[in-house]
């Protein structure tokens, strides 16, 4: 998947072996599902060397979950593109949630698992507060445009940092349609937050609407006009900064 993985555990019992286990799990997922690896199972499936029916249990599960998501997102989620299957849109959140579950089962309570900016969060941070999560500024990667205070949830951002896409409204010539740059979704877990963020982002302007309708999910959408649009319940996660 080619992304940085960060694991932070506050609980005292965390040791090196725990980190090895978690990172080992991500390495396993990467070996199996990376379309950039020639010998990965997904690459073998895409080359027709391996039938899905004969694939591993995890692979078949991911295909099932992808199909389920495709239906739930009204077709805006599809791992098939030009005859090639790339399930990374669903694998990432699934792997993060599995890794977090490994920690939970070992009795850990205060930790997060972050893979490429998608995070599963539990318990409290080092200061004993909820975890502070920043939403990256799509116009400047070094900046944060929102600070959230979160616990026991998943948060994922889908987006693009590219310019262009100047599209005009045919019903109102001259009105430039500003496009969507980034969509952050907070959900009960990272698996659902990630897949719905991905699907909603593909919906364009309707994406934030889609999140609004999802019970238990909130979203923060940033468009080309440097405007943010957010769902009704989003503000309860926003950390109000102290005035100093």
């Amino acid at each position: 998947m080619g992304m940085p993985v960060t694991l932070e555990v506050i609980d005292a019992a965390a040791d090196e072996a725990l980190f090895d286990d978690v990172y080992g799990y991500f390495a396993y997922v990467d070996e199996k599902f990376s379309t950039y690896k020639e010998q990965s199972e997904i690459s073998r499936i895409n080359r027709g060397e391996l039938k899905l029916e004969e694939a591993s249990e995890d692979m078949r599960l991911i295909f099932e979950l992808a199909e389920q998501t495709r239906v739930e997102a009204n077709g805006y989620f599809d791992i098939r593109h030009k005859g090639i299957c790339d399930p990374s849109g669903i694998v990432k959140g699934w792997a993060i949630l599995n890794a977090a579950e490994m920690l939970r089962q070992k009795g850990f309570e205060n930790y997060y698992v972050d893979a490429g900016g998608d995070v599963q969060i539990h318990g409290k941070n080092e200061q004993g507060e909820k975890w502070r999560v920043g939403i990256r500024n799509p116009f400047n990667m070094n900046e944060i445009v929102k600070v959230l205070s979160l616990t026991d949830c998943g948060v994922a951002t889908s987006g693009t940092y590219m310019r262009g896409q100047h599209i005009y409204n045919p019903k109102n010539e001259g009105q430039l349609i500003t496009d969507i740059l980034s969509l952050t979704v907070i959900g009960p877990n990272i698996y659902d937050a990630d897949r719905f963020a991905t699907a909603a982002f593909a919906m364009g302007w309707a994406g934030i609407d889609f999140i609004e309708y999802l019970p238990g999910f909130e979203g923060y959408m940033i468009d080309q006009g440097k405007q943010a649009t957010f769902t009704t319940g989003f503000t309860r996660y926003v950390l109000n900064e102290s005035p100093n």
């Binding site: 205060n110 364009g204 309707a206």
Partner: protein, 212 residues
């Protein structure tokens, strides 16, 4: 016989009444539908029938942390990739009740991200492959002058999505808006888009691989 006759008019009038009542109901329904359609502020979007309520976690106990262990691992080109295929560590759906078997510790490695400042490249223009970023293709072209990257252009990016051309013509009365404001970066975690940037780095990496 006589009974039938005496009954005939009343059943006829009952039929008429039934007919008018049904007609009224049907008309009301049609009128309502037309009204809804005309006044709808949100055309063409039907909320998906989803029941995603799967709470993951145990309650936050808020126990005071007395020590911490932390490690941040990013892409590490130095680690050799594990060659043995490990046994499947998780075979169930990622639901909270899952019991994933822990993977045997294997060496951690992820594909290396391109390090743009490293080394010098041969002058020229290099085009990376199209990389699928799930909702479209990304292709990058890098220009190298005096051994340094002087320009990176997008040759292709996701622009053919039907929805990217969707018209922003529906009001979103319940959604709120604000102008972006940069915040102080006092956070532990940053959530940001990676999808296209992954495609970007993959395509660029391949473009530069040929520039050595």
């Amino acid at each position: 016989m006589s009974r039938n006759k005496s009954n005939a008019p009343s059943s006829f009038s009952r039929g008429i009444r039934k007919f008018f009542l049904s007609a009224f109901v049907v008309f009301s329904f049609v009128a309502y539908t037309v009204h809804e359609r005309l006044t709808s502020t949100n055309p063409g979007l039907s909320p998906a029938p989803i029941t995603p309520d799967t709470t993951t976690g145990q309650d936050a106990l808020g126990s005071a942390p007395n020590s911490q262990a932390q490690a941040s691992v990013s892409n590490d080109p130095a680690t050799t990739p594990a060659t043995d295929a490990p046994s499947a560590p998780a075979t169930n759906a990622p639901a909270p009740t899952d019991t994933p078997v822990i993977a045997p510790p294997i060496q951690f490695s992820t594909p290396t991200a391109p390090s743009l400042s490293q080394g010098t490249y041969k002058d020229g223009t290099y085009t990376g492959p199209e990389v699928n970023v799930f909702y479209g293709l990304v292709q990058v072209q890098a220009t190298v002058q005096n051994g340094k990257i002087t320009d990176v252009q997008f040759l292709d990016y996701p622009h053919d999505r039907r929805t990217s051309q969707q018209i922003n013509n529906f009001a979103m009365p319940y959604l709120q808006q604000e102008a972006l404001q940069v915040q102080s970066a006092n956070v532990q975690i940053i959530s940001g888009a990676t999808l296209t940037s992954e495609g970007f780095s993959m395509s660029l990496q391949n473009a530069l691989a040929t520039a050595h």
